[in-house]
Symmetry: C2
Subunit: 366 residues, 2 copies
């Protein structure tokens, strides 16, 4: 088992990474004294696979539990679901010492984290991520959120979990498409912060997609370390350090939104966003054409899309201007300064964005 | 104009108190650089009275504004209203630098504060309280909340305002009943923290109820100082210092809840709760019978109820056990240690609570 610390003074916590580690949830929760009654938020599919293991582990540690199922779709990150779950939680929490367990992928983690953030102005919660994307990204760092019709993640709170329990063996049952989407975020960490990680993924992409446990464990631990380090230094994204984690996300969110959240998954949209950001970086002579080619090649090898299809780029630009990172009309992009380094650049000319998007919509990007 | 500082490091802010100070909102907001576009949350009645003054003041400082009306009832502190307002805010906030202004009493302040806390994981807001209760209590300290069917204020966040702008002349139009309810909280501050304030209110109660501006200004400034001091030392109620502000509220909330929030207003329920807590304090020999009599007399003189009517005390006890301050089955009461000092006491016997409530339901309490 590997332990990685997110260092945030009295809000510090560990990311526990290992195979079969879900069986230690109860023990970890009991040691942290987060509560005597667990309110587990998950979906039917994940519950069928891991619910029994998790609840047995809690029970063995003297912790009671109840399971609340939410639909397995981004639509669950809504006010309606949040209100229903909070009402149910309030009924469950009669004279108890309750904490929340988020068992699942990004949707479950974001929603459950938000519920933990606002119920009684904040109660403890533990993240038990079961997708690659949640394990290396969304479960770490305390960004919780629900969506509004006007945009994804527009409502939320910073609320750090008390622990992240990353069971790498949970990935065994992960679908190919979801694995690839997680890989997009892994590639992102390499690009923005760790050239060696990028090289490792480049070299081991076949093994990673074949779920080679050693390779996956290495990548998960490395990505978790990078995220833990960034969050520890810039918890609330105030120093523009945490902002670099949004590499590929500015355009990625706009693509998701412009396509009504059903054509591209989050990781796929981020992959396309990274290609756009890489192309802009190359045009601004921050990376070479050779670097750009390597990025395209790896994204393609990871089973991710390299061409934008069926989403008019004008719509993407218009959505992009609604991004919550926008301040007073200035756009902000995370661009690459070579592979392994990122920088926030403001006010990229609309001409460059437009021509890059036009290119990426056609056959020319790769 | 008087300025009181809430000292919370990078979340510090001033409470500005004065007559006609609402005209300085724009100036204060501009100096704080909270944003260029104000989203003002208020109700129709308050908007008709102060909307024009406030928006003109913002405009003069170069700040655009839009006004969002919410119904003037506790029911506005719901998920439904919060979702509707957040959607509207997201539509307003296209490429702007938006902040929120809470113009009104406790309901507006709690809801608007919650919206500011969760929109884009927190945007700045300014409190412009227009009732005595909001001016001396709910606008200060960053406790924001909405209600659930299962209980009041069960969902919320700590989110400090960037300024509190307390215009004492706004009280000129305040109804008698609301003035008395604010007085309940003022008496609370005297009882828990400042014997001289208690004596001042005792001596000047007639003038205060007649809205003597000098007396009101003195009381508002004193109460604001006490609250600012307590919040500065225990922002998140972790050291049981902030807990003493809940004097009278444990039973008060239960009374409100057991009576379906329509028989007693918040201040009235708190007054009854303070009488119950005082009676328990006397039974536990923490205050004298003479002190208790003075408290009853002042609450009566302030136009507040001294007898509980039409709410079965069994229902109050059952609601009381759902209080969010409860932890693992132990009740917690704030009791008086003489007039001007309070202390948190755990595990008061149900026998004492019951007999006190039975007494306060009958004619015997005063």
């Amino acid at each position: 088992m590997k332990k990685i610390r997110v260092a945030l003074k009295d809000r510090s916590y560990n990311i526990h990474i290992g195979a079969g580690i879900m069986r230690q949830c109860g023990h970890i929760a009991a040691r942290l004294a987060v509560g005597t009654d667990a309110y587990v938020i998950t979906n039917r599919r994940i519950q069928a696979k891991y619910g029994r293991t998790l609840c047995a582990s809690l029970k063995a540690a003297g912790i009671s539990s109840t399971v609340r199922l939410i639909p397995d779709t981004e639509k669950s990150k809504s006010f309606a679901t949040a209100a229903a779950v909070l009402n149910d939680l309030a009924r469950f929490d009669r004279n108890r010492h309750v904490f929340i367990v988020a068992l699942g992928g990004g949707v479950v983690g974001d929603l459950a984290g938000f519920i933990a953030a606002v119920y009684k102005r904040g109660i403890p919660y533990i993240q038990v991520p079961t997708t690659l994307l949640a394990q290396i990204d969304s479960s770490i760092g305390g960004k919780t959120a629900i969506d509004l019709p006007a945009g994804k993640n527009l409502v939320g709170a910073f609320h750090q979990p008390r622990a992240v329990i990353t069971d790498v063996s949970a990935l065994a049952s992960l679908g190919k498409r979801q694995l690839c989407q997680g890989m997009a975020e892994a590639i992102k960490y390499g690009l923005i912060r760790d050239k060696r990680l990028f090289l490792y993924i480049e070299k081991n992409i076949a093994g990673l997609l074949a779920k080679d446990r050693r390779a996956l464990s290495f990548v998960i631990a490395r990505c978790s370390s990078i995220k833990a380090d960034i969050v520890s230094r810039d918890e609330r994204e105030e120093k523009s350090l945490r902002t670099i984690l949004n590499f590929g996300h500015t355009i990625g969110h706009a693509i998701e939104s412009a396509s009504g959240y059903n054509r591209y998954g989050h990781g796929e949209a981020v992959a396309l966003g990274m290609l756009v950001a890489s192309d802009i970086s190359r045009q601004m002579k921050m990376i070479t054409a050779h670097d750009q080619e390597r990025i395209i090649r790896l994204i393609k090898a990871a089973g991710l899309p390299v061409r934008l299809k069926g989403v008019p780029f004008r719509k993407i630009i218009s959505m992009h201007y609604r991004d919550k990172k926008f301040k007073a009309g200035r756009n902000r992009f995370v661009l690459l300064d070579g592979i392994g380094r990122a920088r926030v650049v403001e006010n990229i000319s609309l001409f460059i964005i437009r021509s890059t998007l036009a290119k990426s919509s056609g056959p020319a990007i790769c």
